[in-house]
């Protein structure tokens, strides 16, 4: 290209053929849907199965009333697709929507409403919430307008992170909450750009994948409640209520006010990739922000209600999501919509994978019945553009469908392993009858994923939904009073234990036990087979003051307080060492479940179970001690790991299994020891003086590594002689 700003008009279809509403137009191209910049104009394309008429409504940037409304001529319709190219638009300063006419017969599901201007469901950028928490215009009849966008970006050769899924360590975070706190010390707090500044921290910690809570455009004001204690308005802070499935959240961009959120998000992805960190998006396809019959008409409801939503025979909304409506995921049109959306994010934004919120809904047919072979899940599994993307299901929904271990996986999907979370929590608090199941979870849940491999299991102790790790060991009960629902919201099934005092405590014993319990949880998580997921901030004991459903708080309750990094350096150091340990031991990241045989010819079976006595596990209900030994051929020779977890309140003496050959036990971690002896750097673990016996402290974890003694230094030998 010799010059940058040519308008190429060397195609015979780049000239108008008609005039509508004073604008030159021509019949458009039906694909792609949405608004696409074409030579000299903009191609608008939209589908509706039952619309009678459609018009394009054009606004000047920020103006309340439209400056033009262009009815689509009949010549611009092919089947159910309306497509028109409009020339001469000042696309930097235009916002648009659609007015759709059709039958209003709610009893059979049609809810067309030509009095409203609809948002383009394929909009690649939305205005209206350009700056986070800027109050919306009162009574704005059309608050979420689509913008026209450029798709160019200088990726500088970026490619998706191509690593084995099993090597991932996922770190779940909220874009705004991660750097919004004043202690974050970034140039652009609470934004994509702010997150870029924290990449060195992520590298230092040792995670290699961020899972971003929803970044599709949503309305943070989609919450009418008030904090009964502070009187503050509550927000839709988490964002699990999508407005624009193709549009990144503008309010998370420092440049959102200038319409550059797309570039800012792409730069975030590019910089994360440059650091070797993959990007997984938490996506919400189970419902939309339109709610039930009483909710706002934003796009799908007024465009094609019967197609996009699961409806009862009398036209009411099924509510398997618990939020008022349920997206009709397995309808062919909706399936294509979701597929094209994910393809778009994978190709245009280079994201590496997706975590599907309430994914069991993706398995339901149009009447809500679970399908054995859901077409959407199958299509996603085999899609060529998504081939390298990790697909993660939250394999349950609010309608009671629980599919952990049974989600239709097509050998492609991983699942948030809720059973891992539950048993690990119960074991840690000392519940009886948990040792057997913990053993199964520790080796990648072969009972659930025998044919899929351990990587199907996303292991976690905490996530955004529920207690933080610090709160898990500080509260017996949820404390959601500030959510404005009299503490009724949020789960009551937390399997938490406060270690002797509810909430903050100055008691040194309580504080010490809480720290140990957090170390125990992290050590178990990061030595389990499967893909571990850490909830951001748990590595520095972030608290939400006992709130286990903090979806609505935009404030310090949810923001990552970076001063905790200094305050809780001991925990951070421990977690970082555990992540380094995981990276050093490939057998912990293997997809293959162990079988109890010496497959690598290292002198010991790949897994063996132990109790207080070596080779004698105790599976009885009252036992609270689990010891496991893992053996395989590592990159530097035989690799033996012995892990003992004691959830009992008394210490126990353990006899250690004997190692073959010249291998000796070295101590990597002992959570009962005071720092810095609680953990070592991998490769620098001190050798145990007693190779046969060791005492494990109360409610503690012990991790040993068996490796050959270093070869004698010939120089030293000469000097002895």
């Amino acid at each position: 290209m010799s010059r940058p700003v040519h308008v190429v008009r060397d195609r015979i279809d780049s000239f108008p053929t008609d005039e509508v509403g004073g604008f030159p137009v021509r019949p458009g191209r039906p694909f792609p849907f949405g608004a696409t910049l074409v030579p000299g104009g903009v191609n608008f394309s939209l589908f509706s199965s039952a619309a009678d008429a459609l018009s394009l409504v054009l606004f000047r940037l920020g103006e309340r009333e439209p400056f033009a409304e262009l009815p689509f001529p009949e010549s611009c319709r092919i089947g159910g697709v309306w497509a028109m190219t409009v020339f001469g638009l000042d696309y930097e300063h235009v916002e648009y929507g659609y007015r759709v006419q059709g039958p209003a017969q709610p009893r059979i599901g049609d809810r067309f409403d030509p009095s409203r201007v609809l948002t383009d469901p394929h909009a690649r950028a939305l205005s209206g919430r350009k700056v986070w928490a800027t109050p919306p215009q009162p009574d704005d009849p059309f608050p979420h307008r689509a913008r026209l966008t450029f798709d160019d970006f200088d990726w500088e050769g970026d490619t998706p992170v191509r690593c084995t899924h099993g090597d991932l360590v996922i770190y779940e975070l909220h874009v705004r909450g991660y750097t919004r706190h004043p202690a974050s010390d970034v140039t652009h707090p609470g934004t994509y750009a702010g997150l870029v500044e924290k990449i060195p921290y992520l590298k230092d910690l040792g995670v290699n994948c961020v899972e971003l809570m929803p970044v599709f455009e949503f309305d943070e004001f989609d919450n009418d409640r008030v904090n009964p204690i502070s009187g503050d308005r509550l927000m839709n802070y988490w964002g699990y209520s999508t407005l624009g499935f193709f549009a990144p959240k503008a309010g998370y961009a420092a440049t959102g006010r200038y319409g550059m959120q797309r570039d800012e998000f792409k730069n975030l992805v590019k910089e994360l990739h440059r650091a070797g960190i993959a990007v997984v998006l938490d996506v919400v396809f189970n419902h939309t922000a339109e709610g039930n019959e009483n909710g706002p008409t934003i796009h799908f409801r007024g465009l094609d209600n019967r197609t996009y939503y699961m409806l009862t025979a009398d036209g009411q909304y099924y509510n398997f999501s618990g939020t008022g409506n349920t997206l009709n995921c397995n309808h062919p049109i909706v399936r294509d919509y979701i597929l094209s959306c994910l393809r778009y994010w994978a190709s245009e934004y280079h994201v590496d994978g997706f975590r599907f919120d309430l994914a069991a809904i993706l398995d339901r047919g149009e009447d809500g019945t679970p399908l054995k072979s859901p077409p959407l899940v199958e299509a996603l599994s085999y899609d060529p553009l998504l081939r390298d993307c990790i697909l993660i299901a939250e394999a349950w929904d609010a309608g009671g469908l629980y599919q952990v271990g049974t989600f239709p996986d097509y050998q492609r999907w991983s699942e948030w392993n809720g059973r891992y979370r539950d048993v690990l929590r119960r074991f840690l608090k000392g519940d009886p009858g948990t040792v057997g199941e913990l053993a199964t979870r520790q080796v990648g849940s072969p009972d659930l994923y025998r044919h899929r491999g351990a990587h199907a299991s996303i292991n976690f102790v905490t996530c955004h939904d529920g207690f933080t790790l610090a709160d898990l060991v500080s509260y017996n009960d949820k404390h959601n009073e500030e959510n404005g629902e009299d503490n009724r919201d949020g789960t009551d099934d937390n399997s938490s234990w406060n270690c002797g005092a509810e909430g903050p405590s100055d008691d040194p014993q309580v504080r010490s036990l809480r720290l140990r319990q957090m170390k125990n949880a992290m050590a178990l998580l990061l030595t389990s087979q499967g893909i571990p997921m850490i909830c951001a901030g748990d590595e520095v004991a972030r608290t939400q003051r006992g709130n286990n459903n903090a979806y609505c708080h935009d404030g310090p309750l949810n923001w990552f307080d970076w001063s905790l990094l200094d305050e809780n350096q001991e925990l951070f150091r421990f977690v970082r060492a555990c992540l380094a340990f995981r990276a050093e031991h490939p057998q912990l990241r293997s997809s293959e479940h162990p079988c109890g045989e010496d497959r690598d010819d290292v002198g010991l079976p790949d897994v063996s179970w132990h109790g207080a006595e070596a080779w004698q596990p105790d599976w009885s209900a009252e036992n609270r001690l689990l010891a496991v030994m893992r053996s395989s051929a590592g990159p530097n020779g035989p690799d033996h790991i012995y892990l003992a977890a004691n959830a009992h309140w008394e210490p126990q003496d353990l006899s250690l299994p004997e190692l073959p050959g010249e291998c000796r036990w070295h101590r990597f971690a002992d959570t009962s020891a005071a720092a810095p002896a609680d953990v070592s750097q991998p490769g620098a673990e001190p050798i145990l003086a007693d190779q046969h016996q060791i005492t494990i402290g109360p409610r503690s974890l012990l991790i040993l590594v068996g490796r050959p003694l270093p070869a004698p230094d010939p120089t030293a030998l000469r000097s002895i002689r």
Partner: protein, 118 residues
């Protein structure tokens, strides 16, 4: 948008001024015409408080074209707002940036690349 040019030493200093956050857009052709091939140029934004997103893209294109034709280009006089936007979207690292014209001229004149092309 208005463009004014002068020469300082061996560097062409192109000063931009005018409203670039309304309907006006940076004219890439015009700017590119003023950058000497295989020479050195400073784009001075002292009188430009903001560029709209389209202008930023054009600026990046101009910069790439200039580089491709062997020219050395630096930006000076970026307002805090403009610098902040460029930083947030990752464009800032693409450019050689100097605080003022004198520094920019010195930077271009003394850079190894500049010496190589001089």
């Amino acid at each position: 948008m208005k463009l004014r040019t002068r020469t300082v030493g061996t560097v062409a200093v192109i000063s931009l001024s005018g409203e670039l956050d309304g309907r006006s857009t940076l004219d890439g052709d015009q700017v590119l015409d003023l950058i000497p091939r295989q020479g050195r140029a400073l784009l001075d934004f002292t009188d430009v408080s903001y560029l709209n997103s389209r202008s930023l893209r054009i600026l990046l294109l101009v910069y790439r074209h200039a580089q491709a034709s062997g020219s050395q280009v630096a930006l000076v006089g970026l307002s805090e707002r403009l610098r902040s936007v460029l930083l947030a979207v990752g464009f800032l690292s693409f450019f050689v940036v100097a605080a003022d014209v004198a520094t920019g001229v010195a930077l271009l004149t003394n850079s190894p690349e500049a010496s190589a092309t001089a």
